[in-house]
Amino acid sequence: MKRRKFLGAGAAMVASISMIPSQLFAAWCEKCFSQSTIDNAFINTLGTRDFASTDKVTIVAPQAASDSSLVTVEIISSIKAESLYLFVEKNISPLVFQCNLHGSAEPYISLNVKLKESSLVHAVLKEGNRYYRASVHVNVLAQAC
């Protein structure tokens, strides 16, 4: 009986230890980064897929990429932003990142990303309850990833 109790207590402890990481990192949105279509990625991340294109947000990426595992994408905006998002339409997990901006942060991000194949790349900017989008098409010349 004693041994059983001990084992039971041990199991409970292991269970509580394994809970810790998921609690600490509960902020990471598993659903947003799941393998899905671009439409589902928009809905999972932003709750909508209806947003107008705008010239206030600029997305800079090479028209043709010889190394699809390293494509530098830059988001520049002339309007204030609460959050910035980057999506690669044809990737298995389309959402690349979401970034919340606070204080004196400027609406600017540059990051190198992987492309599975030639694809549209979408930058989405959130301000208030409004979303703005800018898109660019990147041609992949050689498959690297």
Binding site: T72, N91, G103, S104, Y108, L111
Partner: protein, 98 residues
């Protein structure tokens, strides 16, 4: 992890490089076995203790991620960075704006 923060006309350009394999979890090795996912998932940047950027990242970020971010700041401002990957490994750095 390497960090550089340079101020010009009141705007600081922050450059961050993290040496990381960034495995997406969908790639296969020569034997056809799936290489397990291992990528940076979260990042936090603070300026003089106040939050500046909160990042959530997916498996589409390149190997050895290279970030460039901008904010309004001045020389001597203190920046703190914390990144965590999908294996709960932590990457931290501190630097002053120059």
């Amino acid at each position: 992890m390497r960090v550089l923060a340079k101020e010009l006309n009141g705007i600081v350009l922050l450059k961050i490089i993290i040496e990381h394999p960034s495995e997406s979890g969908t790639r296969k090795d020569e034997q056809g076995n799936v290489i397990p996912a291992h990528f940076i998932r979260e990042g936090r940047v603070t300026l003089n203790g106040a939050p500046l950027f909160d990042l959530e990242l997916g498996p589409s970020v390149s190997r050895d991620p290279f970030f460039q971010l901008k904010f309004a700041g001045k020389k001597g401002d203190q920046i703190k960075l914390e990144f965590t990957d999908s294996k709960f490994q932590e990457f931290t750095a501190e630097c002053a704006v120059t």
